[in-house]
Amino acid sequence: MSSGTPTVSTPGAPPPQKAAQRLSAAPVRALAASRLADPRLRAGLFAAGLAALLVTPLFGLNNSALLLFSTVFMWIGLTSSWNIISGFTGYVDFGHGVFFGIGGYTAGLLVTHLEMPFWYTVPFAPVFGFVFALVVGYPLLRLRGVYFSIAMLGAFMAMRELALVFRDFTGGSGGIIFEAVIDRTLFYYVFLGVAVIVVLGTVWLRRSQLGSSMLAVRENEIGAEARGINTTMVKLTAFCVAGSITALIGSLWAYQTAFIDPAIMFRDVLLINLALMVTLGGLGTVWGPALGATVFILLRETLWETEGEDFLVFFGVALIVVVLTLPKGIAGSLADRVHLARARRAGKEESR
């Protein structure tokens, strides 16, 4: 943390007085950041924001604005649940879209084969997501991080293949069409509810014993095990929770869209977006995923209107740039600032 002022000045290094200037500018920004660290202020901001979002639809937003908002909320839910397995335990799930697809297909298949009313199918989606996570996670979470990541990508692609191949059951590439419910306001509130619950759940999780155990697993699995933490249980719990939330969101999204097929329920872009949003916001932080999702969707809406190949190139480049320049994400860098400010204040008090 300490700003390593070089004792030996090397030709390439900036002259010492410049470094000092940079330091003197830092406290101002750090002070602003440290205010954000005050939990009461944060809770207040959250409540105010939530109240504003609750009343917003009453002021007659048009449908595309409502859709934009519910898209943001949906992504906040997706990124925050992905963050539980990938950020907190450090087991980066590169095929998390599989749960989105499972959720959508749970809904679609129950509606078409059993003629269930849609809302009755909603509780089944997280249950199937949970079961899938349990069955796949038990063997795969024994793998080391990178292997787990790519094995999940395999699970994702395998499920997409299965959805395509068993066309008598799933409708194959033709997909399933359900009865459309076009009520943007309804979905606005549904996705807002999901986002709020998942984010608050993450806040609680980070402070809970389970959350500390997850971070301990991320840092040192053998060490965590020695402290009496059953690391398999912790990883599996994180995975199942993340998987069932994502499956729930998948089923809701399917209902909103009123159409599913393998190409949209198991779409690669979902994986890229998840990785990009969370990395942008700050992997493993509490607020980072929500922040990343919001910034990303709004940027995309205002700056970018394309699909297809330009989209791929743009996101690919964005991902590369974020990885190379902002590895801790927005929230992670902010948290570093706060710590710097705290350390500096503590230092001042001590020197008095």
């Binding site: 500390s212 965590a224 020695a226 009496g228």
Partner: protein
């Protein structure tokens, strides 16, 4: 009187190399046992086998009458046998208090104020132990910002927190400022008295072990070379030749 922790004929092989050759080892309640021996004698391997970090190829391990052979490390820790590591494994991104509280059982659901007492008891115990080793003032710091010596003390608190019967310390003095080693042994004695816990101390620092231990076990090439009170072991000719002589 039966011992608290007993290991019978524990054998551990790495490929063709026999790291532990049918070692018998025991710890009585409240005892401090020093485990010494030259590099590669099997001290750390024995410690790993006892704490279930490594599966023994042969032999039985019992803790308080219960067979713990082949259990998960976390289960062994919960049953009352905890350890520290040579490279103090504290969790740098968690605060000091969060580290100390890690051994709580997370599967117990949050009680939302109805049954607060176990939670409060755990927090009070953590605060008390941190005070005892002089880390009370840093409870809200991230563990990653502690010095090497402080991290060792924190790890010691983490190992003591669940109220174990035996705590095994792997090279507790390595990386600790020599000036602070006396302080460390003071903390250990204090914890030993307060908690009535048995210690197994694996050490290179012979002076430290002989000062602390009630009984010394000397390992050499995966076998027990000698065993007894410190004074007796110190004057044992075999031990002097093999290890202490130089």
């Amino acid at each position: 009187m039966t011992a608290l922790l007993t290991a019978e004929r524990v054998t551990c092989r790495f490929g063709g190399l026999v790291a532990l050759d049918a070692v018998d080892f025991h710890v009585d309640a409240g005892e401090i046992v020093g485990l010494i021996g030259p590099n590669g004698s099997g001290k750390s391997t024995l410690l790993s086998c006892l704490s279930a970090g490594r599966r023994a190829d042969d032999g039985r391990i019992r803790l308080d009458g219960k067979d713990i052979t082949g259990r998960r490390p976390s289960t062994v820790a919960r049953l009352g046998l905890t350890r520290t590591f040579q490279d103090a494994r504290v969790f740098g991104e968690l605060t000091v208090t969060e580290n100390a509280l890690l051994s709580r059982d997370w599967t117990r659901l949050p009680s939302f104020g109805l049954l607060r007492s176990p939670e409060r008891a755990a927090r009070e115990r953590a605060a008390g132990l941190l005070d005892l080793v002089g880390l009370g003032g840093m409870a809200r710091e991230k563990a990653g910002s502690l010095s090497g010596g402080q991290q060792r003390l924190l790890e010691l608190v983490m190992a003591i927190m669940p109220g174990p019967k035996v705590v095994m310390l792997d090279e507790a003095t390595s990386g600790v400022n020599p000036a602070l080693i006396a302080e460390l042994s003071e903390h250990l004695r204090l914890l030993h008295r307060e908690e009535n816990v048995a210690f197994v101390i694996v050490e290179h620092n012979v002076g430290f072990v002989f000062g602390m231990a009630d009984r010394i076990v000397v390992l050499q090439q995966g076998r027990v070379l000698a065993e007894g009170p410190p004074d007796e072991v110190k004057s044992n000719q075999e031990v002097i030749d093999a290890y202490l002589g130089a």
